[in-house]
Symmetry: C2
Subunit: 200 residues, 2 copies
Amino acid sequence: MPKRIDHQQRRQQIADAVCRLAGREGLEGVSLRHVAAEAGISMGRVQHYFATKDQMLMFTFQAISQRVEQRMGAVVNRLEQPGDPKSLLRAMLVEMLPLSQQARAEAPVLVAFLARIIVEPKLADPLREDNGRLNGFVAEQILGAQQNNAASAELDPVREATALLALVDGLMIHLLTHQVAAPAALAALDGQLDRIFPAP
Amino acid sequence: MPKRIDHQQRRQQIADAVCRLAGREGLEGVSLRHVAAEAGISMGRVQHYFATKDQMLMFTFQAISQRVEQRMGAVVNRLEQPGDPKSLLRAMLVEMLPLSQQARAEAPVLVAFLARIIVEPKLADPLREDNGRLNGFVAEQILGAQQNNAASAELDPVREATALLALVDGLMIHLLTHQVAAPAALAALDGQLDRIFPAP
């Protein structure tokens, strides 16, 4: 299916160009024309995929989300203790922080996208779906661990999931704006995980 | 000192105009010209205060920060238990969430400013100073409570302060993007505070 492969490659190529531009200049530097120039493809080709800047941002956001999910899946597959919910959640949540080169390139686009969603709420649907699914998954891991006496029984799994995901997004912002250093951010996350999943 | 009053009023007037514009259209809708029109003052008057958009954003960010600090001070003064660190921190941190009409108008500008800082790190200094001071204050409250047996002795105050402030910024973003509702956000915050300051 060469056409499908082309399409996927093009998506990736355009999302990469948006990331590079947004990482250098913010979303204000991202026009369809600039993206075409950055990606080294024609303006018409970019417009073939999306007619407006918001469509292009949505597209990039989804492409990044997919890559983050793929990376999460990869780290989960490499876990030493695959059945352990604490190791699994830690690996996933650390992957959401801008600590790797890849994540540091993507995170500014995610924050710019969040800022845009605030004034353009119709863009929020994919984010809400992703986050709702993620919240449910984290809560399930905590609930499962509670049933195996590996997590504190008195905690509300949904409330803990909400707090963990908000903590990680807050740490992402504080890391990107150099308000916190990586070791302190990881210590804050580990403090939460150690409380939810105390050592036996 | 009528001149000083004028200056303060003008600062406020311009910051309000930036907030209204950014709240409607994001920072992309904020040019010196648009702000002048929105504030109902001349372009020359706006340029008297700042020559560039980044100067204007910095100014608005600082004006908002001052107002948030004033509101924090006001709620702290109204506390029923003024000496209680848990009530004090809760009142301050809730004030940082976009739950009041005023905070809902300001928060989109703060997020837009955060997104801008990521690609323009020289803008980060006032944010880092404010956050460093706030982090120190929160850590001091926790340490003081530990010394009075009102907070869990085994916690690291600085790490807890880092986590609390990241949690609040994450909840702010999740509230603004409708990923979490106000009661769930408050429950997440209260869960953290109840853990740091357990009931006697």
